[in-house]
Symmetry: C2
């Protein structure tokens, strides 16, 4: 079953890709097994994370990037991470990207993923989707997410190059830029650069960067007008330049090494959590809760017992 | 070392209590061991969670509750959970409670805990603090937290009785009340009930409650003016009534059973995560990352290897 789907995937069948993406997103056993089988085909794509506040024009930017990459004969896949439905208010990020152009283009694949409550589940789902796109042969994998805290950091973890999009006129300029966001940026984009206070924002960002520790490499600031595709060619050049920097400095290997090790750890944690969940749901373990209630056992001792049972494989 | 501190704790030494609270908050081995040793002394205190939006007057309410319980000859401990320093803006919740009255009173103990980035660490720290206060002999343990998402649910998990505080005039009345918050409320408090739109808020809350599933027990709505201590006596009566309901209906045992089982699971998870962290930091495992980088192993296989090693105890 798995091998058949994987074979079709490796032969370039887009429907097999779509089905495997669903399995990876839902963290099914089949999805996990497929990721093992296709992993040796990964390692060629360049992964670009794009994050920033709502209203920064990220979807338009992603569209402009897709067009530019297609002009350069590069294939592009997109993972659009949607915040919970309450926030997105209707159309998903992926929908908004798709709406802009009518992609019958075989060189483009767009996938939306919803952020669900699962602990660490999204991070594994996004990482898995990136592996699938990579193994399928896409040259560029874009990961788009709305900048809401932890998600930004996760994107930076999953991407080779992280682009942080800022936009003039969102509140009090520099005060709205979260401190941690600049630290994860490999490239800063000031989108909607035709707005009056764009120059000031560029100056503010530069000053903030000068305060930080960027002794190895100062992130460039790229003004864009994504709706007009202005600045997009330079942005693509900066992405290529960052990729070259990563390779030349040895940082690329270090990032990938760390990322894959973290992924292995997350998978181990996921497996352990599944085992715990089964234990919690198993009615034959009610006696344990009873002993806790009667204070005959303490939670720490039960935890030891749990870990012993896990170790014993029972 | 542990036993000495625990002995002094069990003999009623408040400094030993304070030191153990620090160990439990920092999740040290000593703290974990102490919790095992004192656990058989727990199970008598009634734990009351108090949550609500910033500005609802929770600290004032906690102060008024402390005074009322002291008048009734009950001893009271408080765990005040502070959101990250950026939000609290100076004085901690515990400070604000302490500022109101000058407690030289031996029947009162107040402890602030900061929410830190640790996965699940706060929940275990709060649960541990409650165990300590319970074993020390406090009759009532109040857990105060600012209503910011997951923390509310954690408080409801840790408390026998959960009080959700609402206040008139915070935005558009009912729209600001988060849906999930009513589900965890055993008692609703409308504080600052002398404000003009308080009656409307009470009506709105009642209508919202009627829409929900409260077939077993409808949470009472208690109007209070905490600064004037109005409504506080009734609130204390409602807490006692809820406790009686929990005991009579058998819900008390069920809640405690679930809570202690969950705590055991969290401790097991914490232990496993510590093991993973050590593995990640151990330079002798660099070869594993190297094999991942060269695509000789996939993350799923490394996860299996990790779990095997954990099981083998190496």
């Amino acid at each position: 079953m798995t091998s058949d789907l994987v074979s079709r995937f490796l032969a370039g069948d887009r429907r097999a890709l779509a089905r495997l993406l669903s399995h990876v997103e839902d963290r099914t056993d089949l999805g996990r097994q497929a990721l093992r089988e296709i992993f040796s085909h990964t390692g060629r794509a360049h992964t670009v994370g794009i994050t920033g506040p709502p209203g920064a024009g990220k979807s338009t930017l992603v569209n402009a990037l897709i067009r530019r990459y297609r002009d350069l004969q590069k294939t592009v896949a997109v993972v659009a991470i949607d915040p919970s439905s309450a926030l997105s208010g209707g159309a998903t990020l992926g929908d908004r990207i798709r709406m802009m152009d009518n992609y019958a283009d075989e060189g483009v694949f767009i996938r939306s993923m919803a952020t669900r409550g699962q602990l660490g589940g999204l991070s594994l789902a996004v990482g898995g989707a990136v592996h699938l796109f990579d193994a399928f042969g896409f040259d560029i994998v874009l990961i788009e997410t709305v900048g809401v805290g932890q998600a930004e950091v996760d994107v930076a973890d999953a991407a080779d190059t992280t682009i942080v999009v800022q936009v003039p006129g969102l509140g009090d300029s520099i005060q709205t830029i979260k401190a941690g966001v600049l630290e994860i940026a490999d490239i800063l984009v000031v989108n909607k650069a035709d707005r009056p206070d764009a120059r000031q924002l560029v100056r503010d960002l530069r000053n903030m960067l000068l305060l930080g520790d960027h002794s190895e490499r100062m992130p460039p600031i790229v003004p864009t007008i994504a709706t007009e595709t202005e600045g997009i060619a330079r942005l693509v050049d900066e992405i290529a330049a960052h990729r070259a920097y990563l390779n030349d400095s040895g940082t690329a290997s270090e990032r990938v090494r760390r990322r894959l090790r973290r992924e292995a750890i997350q998978i181990a944690r996921e497996q352990f959590n599944l085992w715990l969940l089964n234990w919690e749901r198993d009615p034959s373990n009610n006696a344990v809760a009873e002993r806790l209630l009667r204070r005959e056992d303490d939670p720490g001792t039960v935890a030891d017992h749990l870990l012993d049972r896990y170790r014993a494989g029972t």
